[in-house]
Structure formats: structure tokens, C-alpha cells
């Protein structure tokens, strides 16, 4: 049905809720990309079969939700209303897992021990979703519905107060909405942290035939995947945020037109957004005369082409115009002349996802969370060498240490923490001594890194900081569009210097050269990609200079990563002769008799590191 008023919306909400009368248990199987890769779709089918077989269809609602965030523990199954949290369900046997869940938990009301989460520190099993440390310390605004609702069903979003913010906004004056967003202190979640309300205001004030509203879903930062999770798990919140923005920016000035630019690597996000747009049109929430207000707005999806630079706003707009994604100089703002030279407002997925909550709960509520300069929450993707990996949404200003050690549960395999990398290829590394800084836009910038889109990549003693800097330089060299010289040539020269250092041919003067080049790129590059490209280099040099010096002066990689500077050997005292290394060695370099210490023939060894990875006794040594 078409929703023409708030009353209609309430009707749909009541209907959606009454449809659930008689449901005693809800089984939520995670359908995020992580869980799907562990076969959660097949698991859901098996559960469905068992529910039918046990004839409890009327009492049990089975649904697939978006991402729960704790991807490493997939497949995740949550049973409401109790909030029972099952993880790593049926990785080996889906049929048996489904049978167990239906028979034991749904019918008999018993818990299944093997699926319960075990705290890595206390070794205790935890039943309740909200008591697991990974979730307990989170505050969810952008991710409020992810993992709870079925993203393919608009009624579930409406039942969770969806589109009430839009109804409220359509009754407000556009200027009032902009004022509210300004007051909330919301800053862009995509990297730059520009105040969202100010951007909306500039776009509203600019004269043009049409106003473009763009959602940047080209999440290219390696190590960050929160936007994917929101687009897949709660697509309607993105649409609602965009419609509110469109109304605030264009109403009474010029017609508005919307685009969502999604990475081509995210097929599920495209699928779920496409469906959400169709449903929103069907319900009169997109298209002509939205909710009977007389306001028109529609959104279309564009798939990206697999170019990192298209996450940069001006490059993204060129790409939408059907051209190559080359950025342009910023003395003309996109808010004045953006897509097709018309006023354009571009925000990130997570930014739009915060908007409905701000309108519903008020700017003061949002501004009460966070720090002086950074309000609200931020979603981080906590990955790398940390025990609990996944997506976490926390209030701004929480100490970095709390995210890594309390929510993340510390470092894997009892290794020693070295650094955390934030901000993707534009950011830097943060060493142990700075781990107590509060995480917000300004603090991260102050220590030489940046918020970026929110990737937090944890590194331990086995990670080489020179290698990490080299990784980002190579990444960016490949992704640089080549339009301006400082970025194109600078990255190439940086890569050459790193090749020297990591192969033991570096000289101390190289370090001065790295800093000089980095500075020149910062000052001379056209867009954010080039201006920040040297950050990983400069920050590793600042905090881990001794590692660079070890590579140059001693021809040694202290972490044992840089291939040309290391050798593999086997510690005869630790080797049990299990033959796993010999079995997996691709060149036959690792050999030995059963139950006797093995050896590595350095002439045959290609330093692939497989023996190091497979050895269960830490007997393979690399240095």
C-alpha cells in the first residue's frame, strides 16, 4: 500500500506487528557476507526443514538478518526473545546443527553447549547476546538494526520505527532540519570528518537547476567494511537518511535526484539496496509525492568499476558521469558545482545511517554522546592480529586501548602488541605508548594518523613496520589515477626506495629522502589520495625508526617478514617430527624422518613460509 501520512505509517507498523501474534520464538540466522561464506544460507534452509518436521511453524519465526558484526564467529544464530547467542553453528554438519537447535533449544528449551561463546580470557561460556564483551561495550546507532531485522522486508524496518524520522522531517521546515543536523555535531563518517550540516546548508544555498544527493558506498579502504554491512543489513536506513537530506537541501529550491555509488566488489549490497528501493517506491516513500507531502525524490544505484580513487568525491562524480574517475582541484566546491556541474551533496553510508536517529531522538541526544569535537558514535572494523575480529560501534572518545584489549579481547596467540593502523592508506600507525588516547577525529589526526572510514588494523610483534609502509605505498601506486605528478611519480620513487630498504640495499640517506618526498606529495598533490599517501610512511618512520635502521644498518628484519632478509630453519629441540612441514613444503626443502627433528635445505627453500604457518609446535624459526 501507499503510505500517505503518519497515520498510514502507523497502520503498516501495527499490521507488521500483529502479523507476529502467536510467534513465541524468533530464530535469526545471520546473512552477512561473512556468515554466508560459512554456509549460513544452507543452515537456514535446514532449520526451516526441521521446523516444518516438528510442526512448530506457527510458533516460530525464522529469518535471515544482516551482519551481526562478529564475523569471525560465523555462522551466527540468535534466538529471541531470550537473546540466546549461538556461534560457529554447524561449520561441520549443518543438518545436525539444525536438528539440535530445533529439537533441543526450540522444543525443549535447552541450551547447546558447543555453540555457546566462550570468553577467551575468563574461559566462561556466555549465553546472553548483550553480555558478550564484544557487544556489551558497544553503542549502536548506525548499526542499530543490523543483525536484528530482515533487510529484504520493508515492514520489519517500519516495525522498528523505520521511516518515522522521515514523516517527522517532512513536517519540518528544510532549514530546521539543517539546523538540527548542525546542532547534533554530526561529521562525515567517510574519512574527512567535514560537518554534515554545513555541507547540507551550502548545497541548499547554491543555485542550480537540480540538486544531486549522492551516497558514497565505494568503500575502498582496505580493512574497513562497515558501509558494506549497513548497505547489506539495513538498506532502508540509508534510503531514509538520503530522502531526509534531499528534502532539507532541495525542497522549495530545485528538484532533487539521488544516486548510491556502490563498490562492484559488494554484490549483496547492490542486491539488497535494489530491493529496498523497489519496496520504498511501492510504499510511496520514494518517487512522486513522498508520503503525501508533495515532495518528489528518487534514487538509482550505480556500481563502481573497481577503482580505489573513486571513493574520492570528485572522482566519484566523474565516474557517475560515465568518465574515468580522475579527481579535480577543489577550489570549486562540489556543493556549488558537482555532478554535471550542479550543486551536489555527497555523504558516506554511515553518515546517512545516523540521520534518522538524530531526527527522531533529537540533536541534543546525539550531541550528548562523544567528545567536544566529535559527536555520536563511530563504527570500527577491528581486524588483524586481535582475538575478536569484526565490526564494533562505540561512542567517540573511547580509549583506543579499550577497543583493542577489552572489546577485541587482546592479541592472538599471546603475542605482543606492536601497533594499530587506522585510516587506511591515508592514515598511520599508533604505537603502544599512545594507546590511551581517546578515539576521535582530532586526536587521531594529532598523533599523525586519521579516522578515515574506521578501519582498525591491529599488528603484533611478527609484523614489520617497514613492510606495512611498503604495502600501502604499493597499494597506492597501483590505485593512483596518474593525473598529477607528485602522486604518480612520488609513489613510484617511494616504492623504489622501499624495495632497496627491504632487500638490504638501503642507505641511511634514504630515510631523509622518504621524508622529503612525503612532504612534497602532501603539499603538491591534487586530491586527498596523493596528499595523504605518505602518511603510513611518515608515521612508521616517526614511531618505528629503529626498525628502518635495523633493515639498513644491520641488513636485518626484526619481525622476520621481509623475504630477502630472512632465513628459515628448524629448532631441533622443539620439532616433534610430525612431518607436517615436509608434507606441505612445495619444493621439498623441508625433510626428515618421522618422529625425528626435520631440516630445511636452504638451497631449495623459496621462503614461502608455509612450514612456519603449518607448524603446531613453533619449531620453525625465521630470522
Amino acid at each position: 500500500m501507499k503510505i500517505n501520512s503518519l497515520a498510514d505509517l502507523e497502520k503498516v507498523k501495527a499490521q507488521a506487528k500483529s502479523g507476529l501474534a502467536g510467534v513465541e520464538k524468533t530464530v535469526i540466522v545471520c546473512g552477512g557476507t561473512g556468515c554466508l561464506s560459512y554456509g549460513s544460507a544452507e543452515l537456514a534452509k535446514e532449520i526451516e526443514k526441521q521446523i516444518k518436521a516438528k510442526k512448530i511453524r506457527a510458533k516460530v519465526l525464522l529469518k535471515m538478518s544482516g551482519c551481526h558484526g562478529f564475523c569471525e564467529r560465523g555462522p551466527i544464530v540468535v534466538i529471541e526473545p531470550e537473546g540466546v547467542y549461538y556461534q560457529r553453528v554447524g561449520r561441520r554438519d549443518k543438518e545436525k546443527a539444525a536438528l539440535d537447535i530445533v529439537e533441543q533449544t526450540l522444543v525443549q528449551g535447552q541450551l547447546i553447549d558447543e555453540f555457546l561463546y566462550q570468553d577467551p580470557v575468563s574461559k566462561q561460556k556466555i549465553v546472553d547476546y548483550v553480555k558478550i564483551p564484544f557487544y556489551a561495550r558497544q553503542k549502536r546507532i548506525a548499526l542499530r538494526n543490523s543483525g536484528k531485522i530482515d533487510p529484504s522486508n520493508i515492514e520489519e524496518y517500519i516495525a522498528a520505527d523505520g521511516y518515522t524520522a522521515l514523516a517527522k522531517a517532512l513536517k519540518m521546515k528544510p532549514e530546521e532540519i539543517i539546523e538540527e543536523i548542525k546542532k547534533s555535531g554530526l561529521r562525515g563518517r567517510g574519512g574527512g570528518g567535514y560537518p554534515t550540516g554545513r555541507k547540507w546548508e551550502s548545497t541548499r544555498k547554491a543555485e542550480g537547476k537540480v540538486k544531486y544527493i549522492i551516497c558514497n558506498g565505494d568503500e575502498g579502504d582496505p580493512g574497513a567494511f562497515m558501509d558494506r554491512s549497513v548497505m547489506e543489513g539495513d538498506p532502508h536506513t540509508v534510503l531514509e537518511g538520503m530522502i531526509i537530506a534531499a528534502y532539507a537541501i532541495s525542497s522549495g529550491k530545485a528538484p532533487a535526484s539521488g544516486y548510491i555509488y556502490v563498490r562492484h566488489e559488494y554484490p549483496l549490497a547492490v542486491k539488497n539496496l535494489t530491493k529496498a528501493i523497489e519496496q520504498a517506491r511501492e510504499y510511496g516513500l520514494l518517487g512522486k509525492n513522498i508520503m503525501g507531502s508533495g515532495f518528489d525524490f528518487d534514487i538509482r544505484i550505480n556500481r563502481g568499476g573497481g577503482a580505489f580513487v573513486c571513493g574520492e568525491s570528485s572522482a566519484l562524480m566523474r565516474s557517475l558521469e560515465g568518465k574515468v574517475g580522475e579527481p579535480r582541484a577543489k577550489y570549486i566546491h562540489a556543493t556549488d558545482k558537482g555532478l554535471w556541474d550542479e550543486p551536489t551533496n555527497l555523504n558516506n553510508v554511515e553518515t546517512y545511517a545516523c540521520v534518522p536517529e538524530i531526527i527522531n531522538k533529537g540533536a541534543d541526544w546525539f550531541a550528548s554522546i562523544g567528545t567536544k569535537g566529535s559527536k555520536g558514535t563511530k563504527v570500527f572494523s577491528l581486524v588483524g592480529k586481535v582475538n575478536n575480529t569484526g565490526l564494533v560501534e562505540v561512542p567517540m572518545g573511547i580509549p583506543l586501548r579499550e577497543i583493542v584489549f577489552d572489546i577485541g579481547g587482546g592479541i592472538r596467540r599471546g603475542k605482543k602488541f606492536k601497533a594499530v593502523q587506522t585510516g587506511g592508506p591515508s592514515g598511520g600507525v599508533i604505537p603502544e605508548k599512545l594507546m590511551d588516547i581517546p578515539v576521535d577525529f582530532d586526536e587521531l589526526t594529532r598523533v599523525g594518523s586519521m579516522m578515515g572510514s574506521g578501519g582498525l588494523i591491529v599488528m603484533d610483534e611478527n609484523d614489520c613496520m617497514v613492510d606495512v609502509a611498503q604495502y600501502f605505498v604499493r597499494f597506492l601506486e597501483e590505485e593512483s589515477c596518474g593525473k598529477c605528478v607528485p602522486c604518480r611519480e612520488g609513489l613510484r620513487r617511494l616504492r623504489e626506495i622501499f624495495a632497496r630498504i627491504t632487500s638490504g640495499r638501503g642507505v641511511m640517506e634514504d630515510l631523509i629522502l622518504l621524508e622529503e618526498l612525503g612532504m612534497a606529495m602532501k603539499l603538491g598533490s591534487l586530491c586527498g589520495l596523493g596528499q595523504t599517501a605518505a602518511n603510513p610512511v611518515l608515521s612508521t618512520l616517526k614511531y618505528f625508526r629503529e626498525e628502518y635502521e635495523a633493515h639498513i644498518k644491520e641488513r636485518r628484519c626484526p619481525a622476520g617478514v621481509c623475504v630477502e632478509l630472512i632465513q628459515y630453519s628448524i629448532d631441533a629441540k622443539k620439532c616433534t617430527g610430525c612431518q607436517l612441514c615436509a608434507k606441505n613444503c612445495p619444493t621439498g626443502a623441508a625433510t626428515g624422518e618421522k618422529k625425528k627433528p626435520h631440516k630445511i635445505d636452504l638451497k631449495k627453500c623459496i621462503k614461502c613460509g608455509i612450514c612456519y604457518d603449518v607448524c603446531k609446535f613453533d619449531a620453525v624459526v625465521r630470522k
Binding site: 557476507t33 561473512g34 554466508l36 561464506s37 560459512y38 562478529f70 564475523c71 569471525e72 568503500e219 575502498g220 579502504d221 582496505p222 580493512g223 574497513a224 567494511f225 558494506r228 563498490r263 562492484h264 566488489e265 554484490p267 550505480n302 556500481r303 563502481g304 568499476g305 573497481g306 577503482a307 580505489f308 565516474s319 558521469e321 560515465g322 568518465k323 574515468v324 574517475g325 572494523s381 581486524v383 588483524g384 592480529k385 575480529t389 569484526g390 565490526l391 593502523q421 587506511g424 578501519g455 588494523i457 599488528m459 609484523d463 606495512v468 604495502y471 600501502f472 597499494f475 597501483e478 590505485e479 589515477c481 606441505n584 612445495p586 614461502c608 613460509g609 608455509i610 604457518d613 603449518v614
Partner: protein, 158 residues
């Protein structure tokens, strides 16, 4: 090697996007979805029908990594090179695929079954190291698993 190209399919794509040259990229994506690469005759057809210089089409086709001017294998293996995957051994996984398939990155096996590529982050970082085969994601891949993945797809029809 030049595949036979059904130009009617290309014309259908152009029609679906209303013959509007600003939709060049979505049109090329649709064509690539059909053929798994961009056959030259299809690009020439775009140039003729949309009145866009062929050089500009070539510029777009070579700028975006998602496009390929060479035919791809039935299974496109993408080894993730995102930061989390890099730290957890992504480059070693790529090396294992190279050894097992006997090809370099951006090459296709002679039987046209496998194409090997690296990709800068597929956004499944919590499962690092990650390998994507067509649209299927494989998490926590080890060098031991590489052979199993290849064998499984080599046997599969669809």
C-alpha cells in the same frame, strides 16, 4: 582469440539504458556480465550506436579494474590483498595459487577454467586471509586449503 559476439545482445543493453551515453559504464558492466570480458566488437558497437569516440571507451575500459579486455576463465579467483589479509598471509596465498595453477596473476589457465587475480580488499576482513571465487567468499584460507579450493571448482559444473 576472438569470441563470437551476438550484437543483438549488445543492442539490447544499449536499449535498456535508453541509448544515453552517460550510462556508458553501466552498459559496459552489463556486457561484461554477459561475456565475462569486453569483446572488441561489442565496444565498437557501443562506439557506433552511442557516438562516443572509441578511444574514450578504451580509456574507461582500461581505467577501471573491473573491466577486462581479455577473456576470463570460468572461475575467477581473486586473492584479497587488503591490509588485514596482507598481515595474515595474503601474499603467500597468492603465491600458492600461482604455483598450483602454474600461472601468474592476471593470467588464465589454458583450459580456460581459472583466472587468477589479486584484489584490494573484498571487505570481509574479519575472515582474513580471504579468497573470492566468482561471487563466493572463502575465509581463513591457508596454503593447505588452496589445493582443495582449486580441486573443488575444477570438478564443479555451475
Amino acid at each position: 582469440m576472438q569470441a563470437k559476439v551476438n550484437l543483438k545482445l549488445v543492442d539490447d543493453v544499449i536499449k535498456r539504458w535508453g541509448s544515453d551515453p552517460s550510462f556508458l559504464i553501466p552498459m559496459m558492466q552489463d556486457i561484461q556480465d554477459k561475456y565475462r570480458y569486453l569483446p572488441r566488437p561489442a565496444l565498437v558497437r557501443l562506439h557506433e550506436k552511442l557516438n562516443i569516440p572509441l578511444t574514450r571507451i578504451a580509456e574507461v575500459a582500461t581505467f577501471y579494474k573491473a573491466f577486462s579486455l581479455k577473456p576470463k576463465g570460468k572461475w575467477c579467483i581473486q586473492v584479497c590483498m587488503g591490509t588485514a589479509c596482507h598481515l595474515r598471509g595474503g601474499p603467500r596465498i597468492a603465491d600458492s595459487f600461482k604455483r598450483e595453477l602454474g600461472i601468474e596473476v592476471n593470467q588464465t589457465t589454458d583450459d580456460m577454467k581459472f583466472t587468477l587475480q589479486t584484489v584490494n580488499c573484498v571487505g570481509a576482513c574479519a575472515l582474513a586471509p580471504v579468497v573470492k571465487v566468482n561471487d563466493e567468499v572463502h575465509g581463513q584460507v591457508s596454503a593447505e586449503k588452496v589445493k582443495k579450493i582449486i580441486d573443488a571448482y575444477a570438478m564443479r559444473k555451475k
